[in-house]
Symmetry: C2
Subunit: 700 residues, 2 copies
């Protein structure tokens, strides 16, 4: 793994080590020592002989050997000089704790660039600057400041906020939650979130990956790698800072309904990343992944000693879209044989207020054997007779005997259940403060399992005419012409298998009437000028013309009025097109996210898109399944499919069109955004028509 | 207040008191004594002379005085006899702890009815049976079992689940949360949730009302009273058991899109009740209402010593629809004068990782003075330099000096912030485990304030023809005819000021053509038979007929085909109506909820209602504001208002129609459900037409 020398160095030099308590240079050294680090520690400080009994060196060279890891705490201005030294003695791994770089503005940014340059040239990997450091409990390595060594566990944590990591460590310590590794990535000058997550992916001690991120550097690669890693280790991320980006996207233009937030949602969905809404949620989820097996499916049974919490759990199970397990007859029979008559033998299984540990144990055993049950939630309220300690012991014991299914607990209360909760925790039974939060964790597990079992992603490739598209795009870019007008957009689409309306350009009213005659009425007239992108705004679109006279009138009116409105525009003529109105109008679009790449968009056409914001997004390239999901995830899908006896439209055709569009924007990264609006789709068997289309291109 | 003798009795008799530890009869007595109850306690047990040093009585009579309160713990079968005794000695208040009544089935139900009868006859108020009891910390009254006396506080709690109350008490004790009163209402044989909430409303010691309910008895009265009480005390309720009811309502009939759950949502909204999703949420909300003033508005400022949590808070503020405060220039200037240069002077105000208590104090003081800020959230993460204790003290002190605005805290962490959190708690600064949960509490406060400041509810009364409606409904009820067909429904609507299409019944094709000629084409033909409710199912509706021939053909076809499909139906003729298609189709409806009464429904007509479930509900009677909100709360409202240059429809007319319908169903409780579908609404100034309508009536 790439970060081995950060996590398990044989020797560590601390440049800027200090004798003065309270100073970071002292705290880190003290942390290193008190954690019980087994390798050699070299404090570097020209002003001291020894610190905490360790021999002090005046510089890295004088150590006489190359330390595996160097921790840098000197003031920001001196950091480049230290990096030069590192390069000279061939150090390969450096953690820069020091702040005062990119985060303070221009001057700091230059300093940071200097550091990166030195590192790159010398092949040094850098964590930081402006970070809290690195912790690896198993190796008794606490190369950080401001925190104790946490317990060893199976969760790897990466944080873009050092301060938050400090709080998280504090919470984890108090809750007995352990970590395999913790990394504070700070400014991410070199090593970023993806490097750490990849390292966690390969780390045999890490079974759950968690993190707090504010930004993701290379979204595209991030998704690719995270998808691979999620397949065997769940990734639980808090991604903050989403809303202002979302607000920016609230523009009226359909294509830009997508914002950064939508891209993140889509990227996380593809990569199987579990997004956490708060630190509490993240802990809630991490616990169950760390300590319990994955469920086989979404079906949940509840065992309780009180009706109220059982109902609350049932509500939560239904609201979250999990399955409320229907117990097998065999199970009900077994329960009936030994539970008191007043007990509820059906889910939620109410074993009554006087239930002691033995009744819990019996019920849990029995329900664990039920083939209809995937996950079990054990609820307890501390009533007069209740034995939280004995019950906790019974739950732990039973789960050890039958470890195949996940079991979660919710002992509701505080002091009266405290000792029971401690026993559960030690016995690796995740405990939740409310039935609702336990159910939320079950839902996340079930979704993760469903994601892992998803069909293999196969992206269809359609035979297309790439060369033609290449030519058109190049022509536009050569001209410095970012907007690709309707004709060229349609030609590009045709090259990718889309059908566009029949039609031709007319330069006289007679010619227009002739074309109309040939293609058949009704027709549409559209003004033709590369300068006019929004044709309807200038009265440049006339629909539903049914006769020679109407066509001629419309032609003349456009030629008379539009030059007055847009004297700048060179008008090349009028496009006469067959009017397609049989079917429903939908919109297909793409907006290229700066981080994650092409984000496909689908929605019902017309006034509905704006009113309902009922659009769906997904990152290209799309598989057939994903294209289909884009359709089914809109509310208007039912209308497309046909309801109340109305005939539906050709769903397969739309799904294929989305895939073709996805292929186009994947093969041509120059296409910055585009939409086909309206795309008129008829009943099954008919070919949809791209009635209007536009795109913009950019040099890449 | 009605329940004074339950909360503050001068003497308490315990019937079924026991000497045996572990028995409920002993535990309650022991609880009463150890809580320090100041009144007299009379244990009643014919087998004992004294219990815990108190003289024991063989029955209630032998006490020689009438105890203010009697607690009954004897076995269920003996309870009626004890009640008889209570009646005899003129006891007025009884808590029946004993279980084994309604909740165990038929036999128990009869026993419970017996108890209620005795109580009613003798004017005895009863809490329970099958309950945990009553607790009033201020009066040192712990008339309950299985729990210690909690701290005194300002929250009154009512619970339908005794077991949950035990857990809640345990959590509250551990969190230093206090209560004014706690009542376990058990089976609610006599005193129910509303009685308790009303008592809390009048109780000067109760400032916040909270509860856990599974059902509400008299919904209508509950809403009325709760609305009155919410005006000065917030009511925070967990209402569980909602989902299966919701599922039942998932029928295809538009009127029944409403389910119990919708009625609850609507009732709570009207009454200003704050619905809590879990016990944790309830605690989170209760705390801030108990300890902080209400905010003037929705604007929130955040003070933090770390960027990450600040961003998380900002995200939450935006997502919840609160206002992210823009600080006044004056505030920014003041902050700039004393904060370090790297600090962020704008919201979220980042006072940096090395902030000590003084910097927090200064920032909090300054921001409290900002007129643009309604609520302040103070975030802290325990970093190397951080002083959680000093900071907590500074926050408490500052808020005492400037107590006008609510301040909430989120010290993130555990052991390192534990002492600080204790200081906050003692200083009445509510502390939250994550920024997100703090923001959720702020949102609930802001919403409550907005609700309190809502305009006074004035329900308009329109001049209508009640007598006519009375006659029609009576005629149907006399005949035992639940379904009111289209003609009568329309007559009822006309009596309430609705316009219906012109038209008349024809019995021959010629007559039909004549009517069509008079009212003008296009027309609609509808089969006329009181047995046929769903006319289109039998081909009994023919739209858009444009000529005499078409009318005659349609008439004959109906007369030929429908008797074959429905030989049972007596066909009275065919209704010829003017066809109204100018405008948009909406649906107005009402479904009478068994608990909360008439629930009004509004939605776009046609296929959209079913596809999008974009309908809104609200309890009648509607004010003009509420009717308008029913419109604006649908997503399709934008379409009705007119968008993208399309002309909108007469919004005022729809709002008035909803109010008229609300008046109709309020004045005629016999109307069980009804809908007008479609209701065709044209542009402003035109009169909408009730094209089709149906209703069903029931004896009341």
């Amino acid at each position: 793994m790439g970060l081995e020398s950060f996590f398990n160095p044989k020797s560590v030099a601390i440049v800027g080590a200090s004798r003065q308590k309270g100073k970071v240079g002292y705290e880190i050294l003290a942390n290193m020592i008190s954690a019980g680090y087994q390798g050699r520690i070299f404090p570097v400080n020209p002003q001291a002989d020894t610190i905490e009994g360790l021999k002090c060196y005046s510089d890295l060279e004088s150590i006489g050997q190359v330390p595996d890891l160097v921790i840098v705490i000197v003031p920001a201005k001196i950091v480049p000089a230290v990096m030069q030294q590192c390069a000279k003695v061939k150090v390969k791994s450096v953690i820069i704790i020091t702040a005062g770089f990119k985060e303070i503005g221009k001057e700091g940014k230059q300093l940071e660039e200097q550091v990166v340059q030195i590192a790159k040239r010398a092949g040094i990997r850098v964590i930081g600057p402006n970070c809290l450091g690195v912790i690896a409990p198993k190796n008794m390595l606490n190369a950080s400041f401001g925190t104790e060594l946490p317990a060893e566990g199976v969760t790897g944590y990466v944080s873009q906020s050092g301060a938050l990591l400090a709080a998280i460590l504090d919470m984890a310590n108090a809750n007995g939650i352990g970590f395999s590794k913790l990394v504070s990535i700070g400014n991410k000058a070199d090593i970023n979130e993806l490097d750490v997550i990849k390292a966690f992916g390969e780390d045999p001690d890490t079974r759950v990956i968690a993190g707090y991120l504010e930004s993701i550097a290379d979204g595209d690669e991030f998704v690719r790698q995270a998808e691979r890693i999620s397949q065997h280790k769940p990734i639980l991320l808090i991604k903050s800072g989403g809303t202002s980006a979302g607000a920016k996207a609230a523009s009226s233009h359909t294509g830009s309904l997508a914002g950064g937030e939508v891209a993140y949602e889509s990227a996380f969905a593809r990569a199987g990343i579990i997004r956490c809404g708060s630190i509490k949620e993240q802990f809630d989820y991490a616990r169950v992944f760390a300590d319990q097996p994955l469920p086989a499916g979404p079906s949940v049974a509840v065992i309780t000693n009180a009706g109220g919490p059982g109902i609350m759990a049932a509500d939560a199970i239904e609201r979250r879209g999990l399955t409320f397990a229907k117990l097998a007859d065999e199970t009900v029979k077994k329960l009936a044989a030994r539970l008191p008559p007043a007990a509820n033998l059906h889910n939620p299984i109410d074993i009554l207020g006087d239930a002691l540990a033995d009744r819990y144990e019996f019920a849990l055993h029995t329900v664990l054997d039920d083939p209809n049950v995937d996950t079990i939630l054990v609820l307890l309220t501390p009533q007069a007779m209740t034995d939280p300690v004995g019950t906790a012991q019974a739950v732990v014991k039973t789960c050890r005997q039958k470890p195949a299914k996940p079991v979660l607990a919710c002992f509701i209360g505080a002091s009266r259940v405290e000792e029971g909760i401690r026993i559960l925790r030690d016995g690796k039974i995740p405990q939740y403060d409310t039935p609702e939060s336990a159910v939320a964790a079950i839902k996340v597990m079930a979704d993760y399992v469903a994601w892992r079992n998803r069909p293999k992603r196969v992206v269809k490739l359609f035979p297309v005419n790439r060369r033609k598209v290449e030519n058109i795009i190049e022509r536009h870019l050569r001209r410095g012409d970012r907007e690709v007008g309707e004709t060229d957009s349609k030609e590009i689409l045709e090259a990718y298998g889309f059908k566009t309306p029949q039609g031709a350009i007319a330069t006289t009213p007679e010619q227009a009437a002739n074309i109309a005659q040939q293609i058949g009425y009704p027709v549409v007239l559209k003004i033709w000028s590369s300068e006019i992108v929004h044709k309807s705004d200038v009265g440049g679109v006339k629909l539903g013309l049914n006769s020679e006279q109407e066509v001629k009138d419309a032609f003349d009116l456009m030629m008379y009025r539009i030059p007055q409105k847009r004297p700048d525009a060179q008008i090349l003529g009028v496009l006469v097109e067959k009017m397609h109105k049989i079917g429903k109008e939908v919109i297909l679009g793409m907006n290229r996210d700066p981080s994650f790449g092409p984000l496909m968009m689908f929605g019902m056409g017309g006034v509905m898109v704006e009113a309902l914001k009922d659009v769906s997004f997904y990152l290209a390239p799309l598989t057939e399944d994903e294209a289909r999901q884009m359709l089914t995830s809109t509310k208007t899908y039912k209308i497309l499919k046909g309801m109340r006896g109305q005939e539906g439209v050709d769903i397969d055709a739309i799904a294929e069109s989305l895939q073709r569009l996805s292929q186009l924007v994947t093969e041509f990264p120059q296409i910055h955004e585009m939409d086909i609006n309206p795309y008129v789709v008829g009943p099954p068997g008919t070919t949809p028509i791209a009635v209007d289309a536009r795109m913009s291109v950019e040099k890449i």
